[in-house]
């Protein structure tokens, strides 16, 4: 800071001390967010709740999804979702109350919409956001069919996916609001 600037600053501080002009009693924070339009929001909003609200256009069946799976998922999730090195995606139904529970999409996940949401936002791990909506629907259908939850030719789309009832749909107890511990 130059001497001249420093002098100016000191004068201002002195002025402020005398008159209080640099202080404010307002606690209103600055409103610095900028308005966003619906089209822009649509590019960002990728979360899909159980109602299926926000599911995109497109569709796919398990038969179509098998190709996507074998190309982009099998290396980590194993043949037919058997797992290793990454999580198993199929099997385990009926094991949850046992001493060795097997928690997969089929045995544990309560909503099929979560599968679509997660595949679209995070998979494949080395190239997320790369699958088309048709591919996400198809690979979702493939994993659901591996678990026998839908048939191989059932078509998953914005209407049918939220209708899928997962085997462990009623297996969760909400702890919010919190119970006493």
């Amino acid at each position: 800071m130059s001497t001249r600037n420093l002098t100016t600053l000191l004068s201002l501080v002195a002025l402020a001390a005398c008159t209080g002009v640099m202080q404010t009693t307002s606690s209103k924070p600055p409103a610095l967010g900028t308005p966003v339009g619906a089209a822009e929001i649509a590019r960002w909003d990728i979360s899909i709740p159980p109602s299926g609200a926000g599911l995109p256009a497109g569709s796919g069946s398990a038969r179509q999804g098998q190709q996507v799976y074998e190309q982009k998922c099998l290396a980590c999730h194993g043949a037919k979702g058997a797992g290793k090195p990454a999580d198993a995606l199929a099997g385990g139904v009926g094991t949850l109350a046992s001493k060795t529970p097997v928690r997969t999409v089929g045995s544990y996940w309560p909503y099929a919409t979560t599968l679509f949401d997660y595949v679209r936002r995070a998979m494949p791990i080395n190239n997320p956001l790369s699958l088309t909506s048709d591919e996400v629907y198809a690979v979702t259908a493939y994993v659901l069919a591996l678990n026998g939850i839908i048939g191989e030719d059932a078509v998953m789309n914005a209407q049918s996916l939220p209708q899928v009832k997962m085997p462990n749909r009623d297996g969760f107890v909400s702890d919010w609001p919190p119970r006493e511990r």
Binding site: G33, D45, P101, A122
Partner: protein, 415 residues
Amino acid sequence: MDEKSDGRRRFLAQGAALAGGTAFAALSPPGAAQEIAGQPWERVYGAPFTGYGQPSKFEAPVIRHIGRPYGDLAPGSGAALSPIESLEGIITPSSLHNIRSHSGTPDIDPKEHRLLIHGLVARPLMFTVDSLLSYPMTTRTHFIECSGNSSRATTPQPAQVPAGAIHGNAACSEWTGVPLRVLLEEAGVDASAKWLLAEGADSAHMSRSIPIEKAFDDALVALYQNGERLRPEQGYPVRLFLPGWEGNMSVKWLRRIKATDGPTHTKDETSKYTDPLPDGRSLQFTFEMGVKSVITRPSSTMTLPRPGLYEITGLAWSGAGRIQKVEVSTDGGATWTAATLLGEERPKSFVRFRLPWEWSGKPAVLQSRATDEKGRVQPPRKEWTARYSPDMRYHNNSIVSWAVGADGKVTHVYA
């Protein structure tokens, strides 16, 4: 630093090194340099300034305990645990803070990063990082603990690893940022909004649902950690911070908050971060981290060199608020003594406890038991284990036991 002053500094350093060596030796009587006590580093000019400080090279063994469940396939997925056995006080150095990441650490350009707030709001808004930095700031000291911390204490046999490798998926920092409620009020949250969906800009787009009550209570949109801007692995340039709640809800690299009428049931609040019960059902949305403590010294893999006086010390914390007391037992829980506390006035913060202990040389089992201001008491391990399915890995706040052998060796035991 400009080139000129850098050059001048180097010149001084070289000159001093020369002066400390041959030049002065020639002028001084033989043996004179030995008369005044002084180590070799007292006889040479010291290292120049550095722009960003590093610890002593002799502290190189103090590093995070890194766990990579997927190996080289996904080297940034997993956790790096804080070496709490080597640390003191209540603030975790940022470089040794625990890390839990789902798809590695993204390399985010703060000029390009945006935070979108939308959903059930009157005015959907986009924020730049610069704009967030212009709001009045709030600073608070809080712990953050991964819900899966201490999962290594759920294995059939007690792991013989340092305390931090089991219980170090927690850390405590001073966090500075904008209260989330300020941004939500600017957007005008609708009365019908009961939850928020928070989403990160990592390649997992890690997302969690958060009750709106928490957002209007003590949630921060954090920009600084321990006085400096967030570290990349802690969410640079902006993260959510939900004091006392399971760590991954404090979404790092925050890019979007959507006000919703219900929870979104994301992958990390259904398939993971749910607490399996013995009957096959699972608890969902168990947000608050329980009251907990762990003795950090002496602890597993250490050795007491001789009988005599030691200080038992460790950390305690509670997601419900302040720590009220920490008791220490040296006889496996038969008798308890209240320890001295440091930092207990801070809610949802690490508290340091200390208790002097005269070790007789006979075998001992060291335990600590914390109680918080809500009257909640850290449970014995058996009691905690009985509540859940055998594969429960989250929210383990049970009492930790370290056995001291007659040889002074400290081991991890289940007691």
